[in-house]
């Protein structure tokens, strides 16, 4: 199957959906189902749009994008299914968002990437507008626009130096034309900052707080799970196959390390559950990009997968909890899980996995990250990772204990059976992968090679 259908079908349905509002939600579900089906049937390769080989726009399906597509589409589908009520009038937006997300993961063209970045960005603004916090959405809008503007500027500079937009050709062209790395610092930095805004990197991410601290289950999972994963994977592809960090690598590493530290420390100092989770998400995305920047693709993908699954569980449950209890102060949520043990179990497993304790998938990921970092002899960085994960563990344990054990009155909330089932399955998945990871690690094995293949072939067919 042609992977472009992953983008075309949701787009088509989006256009159809505005003709009659009644059909919008069914169309969304059908599009999601079709996409999930398609993801598992498409085959690897370069797919041209319009038939102009490496001179036009291409979609690249390799192991990397395939894994990303699978994870993102499945989670997107489940998010919509488990939050059917909140979808309401957002169906069209979600359809466009789905197309944008798939486009970001598939595209092999820098400008096309910008277009999809815009699509995803605007749908994200609209999705967050459902929080009824116009100011936060406006902040997001302003920052996102500045970010994509910078990305575009960087892209223009890069094009004027290399004369191509094909991601597989940038690196070979740089080598061919012998462009010195210092000349590339500005465009790469502009693009890095542009994507950094969406990827929640530190000085550029003040939108995250406003957006996520008032988000419901649907919004938070989409923003912190689906979009974050997509952006991280896109970023990862650029960092591993396009960017030559060279002279700016120090600035980049500092930004990423500070993001990680600041996220965890801010989460430590937070008293609201959604705030804790959002800061933790910031730190995680800092770590993911940090791994990509160090060329550690496999651990980064593992972390991304672990991250989206646990974020799905954490944010869905938190969203339902806040809906039901009308509060997100941890102090007033004490003991909520004593009345909702299954949900509590899933939440606990997800948090333990995020902390990186054994028997859970997060542990395997952490071990992988550290082994890779140490094989590069990155002593400082790995020490930093350990310190921040200690902080992370501390506030998660504190949170868990408070949510399980009550002092005084316990608030209750209702959760649909479907949400319970999905979160439980995800939680069990974290446990299963925590014990037996071989299939996953095997399928990740070829990712770095395949990523470089397109470059070696110079985007030819």
């Amino acid at each position: 199957m042609n992977p472009v259908l992953l983008i075309a079908i949701p787009l088509l349905f989006a256009f159809l959906s505005i003709m009659n509002k009644k059909f919008a939600r069914p169309l969304l579900l059908v599009a999601l189902l079709l996409d999930v089906y398609l993801v598992f049937t498409i085959s690897k390769g370069l797919y041209s749009i319009g038939g102009f080989s490496q001179y036009g726009i291409n979609l690249l399906v390799d192991q990397y994008s395939l894994i990303g597509l699978m994870v993102v589409n499945v989670v997107f589908f489940l998010t919509v299914v488990t939050n059917c009520k909140e979808v309401k009038r957002l169906s069209t937006v979600l359809l466009v968002a789905l197309a944008g997300v798939n486009g970001l993961l598939l595209t092999n063209d820098l400008f096309n990437l910008f277009v999809f970045l815009e699509i995803v960005g605007i749908s994200a603004y609209l999705i967050t507008s459902g929080n009824k916090r116009p100011l936060a959405t406006f902040n997001y809008l302003v920052q996102g626009t500045v970010g994509s503007g910078l990305y575009l500027l960087g892209l223009i500079l890069l094009y004027s130096m290399t004369g191509t937009l094909n991601m597989a050709l940038i690196l070979p062209t740089i080598v061919d034309k012998a462009i010195p790395l210092s000349n590339l610092a500005l465009p790469f930095m502009l693009m890095f900052i542009g994507l950094g805004v969406e990827a929640k990197l530190l000085p550029f991410n003040s939108w995250v707080k406003g957006v996520l601290q008032n988000a419901n289950a649907l919004t938070s999972v989409l923003i912190a799970g689906v979009f974050a994963t997509t952006i991280a994977l896109t970023f990862g592809r650029l960092l591993s196959t396009v960017f030559v960090l060279g002279s700016i690598s120090n600035i980049v590493l500092v930004i990423l390390a500070v993001t990680m530290l600041a996220g965890e420390v801010a989460a430590f100092a937070s008293k609201r559950i959604r705030e804790v989770l959002l800061f933790s998400a910031i730190a995680q995305s800092g770590l993911i990009i940090l791994l990509f920047a160090n060329g550690l693709v496999i651990p980064a993908i593992m972390l991304i997968i672990a991250n989206i699954v646990s974020k799905y569980i954490l944010f869905t449950i938190t969203g339902k909890m806040v809906d039901g209890t009308k509060t997100d102060e941890i102090e007033s949520l004490q003991g909520v899980f004593s009345k909702n043990k299954l949900v509590g179990f899933a939440f606990t497993v997800a948090s333990l996995s995020v902390i990186g304790l054994p028997l859970f998938f997060g542990f395997i990921v952490k071990l992988n990250i550290l082994t890779s970092l140490f094989s590069q002899y990155q002593l400082f960085l790995s020490a930093l990772i350990l310190v921040v994960s200690l902080i992370e563990g501390t506030y998660f344990v504190k949170l868990l204990i408070k949510l399980w054990y009550s002092v005084g009155e316990v608030k209750t909330f209702k959760v649909d059976a479907l949400v319970k089932v999905v979160t439980l399955i995800f939680a069990l998945g974290l446990i299963v992968f925590g014990v037996y990871t071989k299939p996953l690690t095997d399928s990740l094995m070829t990712v770095p090679e395949e990523m470089m293949e397109a470059i070696a072939e110079r985007g030819n067919f």
Partner: protein, 606 residues
């Protein structure tokens, strides 16, 4: 043949089974924990003593690998025995827990984890099981009344395990191997780093200075069986790591002629000595019996460290012996307090008194336990302390020697406090109907006491075993004959000492029975200056027990202020980041972007 992996896996499975059973029948589930831990103990002991444990079977793929060693076996048998003993208490306490099913699950998982640690053949396996122990035992803590110690425990344990992880990974990056033997290959500065990190791991888990603050919090506030398991079992993981760190790594360092040991070992010994002193001093002033025992656990950990640091045949035997003796005695003491707690619902010494009249057996168990902990013959603690003293004197380490003797004498003070005030002392009217421990609880109490007594009288088997253990580290055996242990400057004949002691007891008993009985008086018979007293609690025997002594030093350990400060700093940093980077003003973000870009292009210009 019996494979270790099967032991670990089946313990985990038993945990799951106990969980499922306990959802409906928590009490039945807790009986399952008894059976499961019995099975683990007996399998390990039986096959272990016959050298029949199989480490080759590999049911779980990936990197979980085991091996057998006398060193691991020694620890595994002790800890599984402690888990088994304590499990007898589970049925009585299970109904008080908020999540009884989870308790049974985590209890057995923690057991499985500790076994895994002791038999691990590479560091990854070791670390996996170490962390399993950390998080499963962590969830046992809040089942009591207090939630906060859980976080404290997590932080300190994780500091330890992350130090270990870093050491492991660092070793890997240099040697390319996760094998336990890899640390011996290291040299120079990298060896020193690994040495320090592993020592930190051991210290954190053992609760040595400066990490000892978690012990009183956790052991004092956990459910009683959990405290017992921590003190007798899980804490010993720290000793295990410390053994490996100190004995297997040889960083290039200064050799101290005066004491005949390397600098790093001397530093460890000093830290051990500080732990002994601080633990003892704090234990003396505790009013809560469990907290008191917790500090005493810390100070006993100090003895173990001192003994390991001296690294000679005699000191290592002392360390191994002390691990066993302390495990038996402190578990017995904790369980005895647990009985009191179970019957009276309090562990505050000042609220109790005269318990000997209600529970004489528990009293005897406690008495024997503290005798062992104070290092008085004829109990196991005496022999271990004797060995350690021998080694200290032999090395002529004056400071450390002073500390160890101080600890020994101090322990008289603190173990006497609950003895005198809790078990003896005045009988309080409100505990009139309190009964002796239930039958099932008596079993472990008696077994532990007899065990403690046995190793105090006949040390031969234990020393045989520990000789095999220290041989694995390349130390010669400690010499002994049928009745005596050959020390550096003398021979210890435990049976003779024990019989002298027994004689003394007989003599005193005869005197006791011959002399006329004292008249029994009620509490309200107390009077002072001709006035009868109606607020008897204030004049209770044990209120302000060591008041003069307590005035000498502050109640809260200084170091806990440091930790509180670190926590506050992290919080402050978090608020700082939130204030500067997470505002509601998009222009701040834009400013940051502009500044970073300006910095970049400025760098270009220059």
């Amino acid at each position: 043949m019996f494979s270790i992996e099967l032991v670990v896996l089946s313990t985990l499975l038993a945990g799951v089974l106990a969980y499922i059973v306990s959802i409906k029948l928590p009490k039945l589930g807790s009986y399952l924990t008894i059976l499961a831990s019995l099975a683990v103990f007996s399998v390990l002991a039986y096959f272990g003593f016959n050298n029949n444990l199989d480490a080759e079977v590999n049911l779980i793929p990936q990197f979980v690998l085991f091996k057998t060693s006398m060193f691991g076996l020694y620890f595994a048998i002790i800890v599984s025995f402690i888990f088994f003993m304590v499990s007898f208490f589970n049925p009585y306490f299970i109904k008080d827990y908020k999540y009884p099913a989870a308790y049974n699950l985590f209890y057995l998982m923690a057991l499985a984890g500790t076994i895994g640690v002791f038999f691990a053949s590479n560091f990854i396996t070791l670390f996996i099981f170490f962390e399993i122990v950390v998080w499963t035992s962590m969830f046992l803590i809040p089942l009591g009344k207090k939630r906060k110690p859980t976080v404290t425990y997590f932080v300190f344990s994780t500091v330890g395990s992350f130090a270990m992880l870093y050491a492991v990974m660092f070793t890997f990056s240099i040697t390319g191997s996760f094998d336990l033997a890899a640390i011996s290959v290291l040299s120079g500065k990298s060896a020193l780093l690994v040495y320090i990190l592993l020592a930190v791991a051991g210290f954190a888990k053992l609760g040595a200075y400066p990490f000892y603050v978690w012990l009183p919090k956790v052991l004092g506030k956990s459910p009683d069986p959990v405290s017992a398991v921590f003190s007798g079992g899980i804490e010993k993981l720290g000793a295990f790591i410390a053994f490996m760190a100190i004995l297997r790594i040889s960083p290039a360092s200064i050799y101290l002629e005066a004491v005949g040991m390397y600098l790093q070992n001397y530093v460890i010994a000093i830290f051990g000595a500080i732990t002994i002193v601080v633990g003892t001093l704090q234990a003396i002033r505790q009013d809560d019996a469990k907290k008191l025992l917790a500090y005493s656990s810390a100070s006993n950990g100090g003895y173990i460290l001192v003994a390991i640091a001296m690294s000679s045949s005699i000191s290592l035997t002392g360390a191994m012996y002390h691990i066993l003796a302390h495990a038996l005695a402190s578990t017995a003491a904790f369980l005895a307090i647990a009985v009191v707690h179970y019957r009276t619902k309090t562990t505050k010494i000042s609220e109790l008194g005269g318990m000997i009249h209600h529970m004489p057996l528990t009293y005897m168990v406690y008495l024997m336990a503290i005798i062992s902990m104070a290092g008085i013959p004829p109990m196991g603690g005496f022999i271990s302390k004797w060995l350690i003293f021998q080694a200290v004197i032999n090395k002529q380490m004056i400071i450390v020697a002073v500390a160890t003797f101080f600890g020994s004498i101090g322990s008289f003070l603190y173990v006497f406090r609950p003895l005198a005030a809790l078990f003896l002392g005045q009988k309080l009217p409100k505990y009139k109907g309190v009964k002796e421990a239930p039958f099932l609880m008596m079993i472990p109490l008696i077994i532990l006491t007899l065990g403690s007594f046995y190793i105090g009288v006949i040390p031969n088997q234990v020393i045989d075993f520990s000789n095999k253990v220290i041989a694995e580290f390349g130390f010669g055996p400690l010499l002994m004959n049928e009745f005596g242990i050959q020390g550096a400057n003398g021979t210890l004949s435990a049976p003779i000492i024990a019989s002298v002691f027994g004689l003394g007891v007989v003599v005193i008993a005869i005197i006791f029975f011959i002399l006329p009985k004292s008249r029994k008086v009620g509490l309200m018979d107390t009077y002072t200056s001709g006035e009868f007293i109606y607020t008897e609690e204030l004049l209770h025997y044990s209120a302000d027990f060591y008041a003069p002594f307590e005035r000498l030093y502050p109640a809260k350990p200084l170091i806990s202020k440091v930790y509180a400060m670190i926590k506050e700093k992290v919080n402050e940093l978090g608020r700082f980041f939130k204030y500067w980077f997470f505002t509601n003003k998009p222009e701040v973000t834009v400013l940051w972007i502009v500044l970073i870009l300006t910095l970049l292009v400025w760098g270009d210009i220059l």
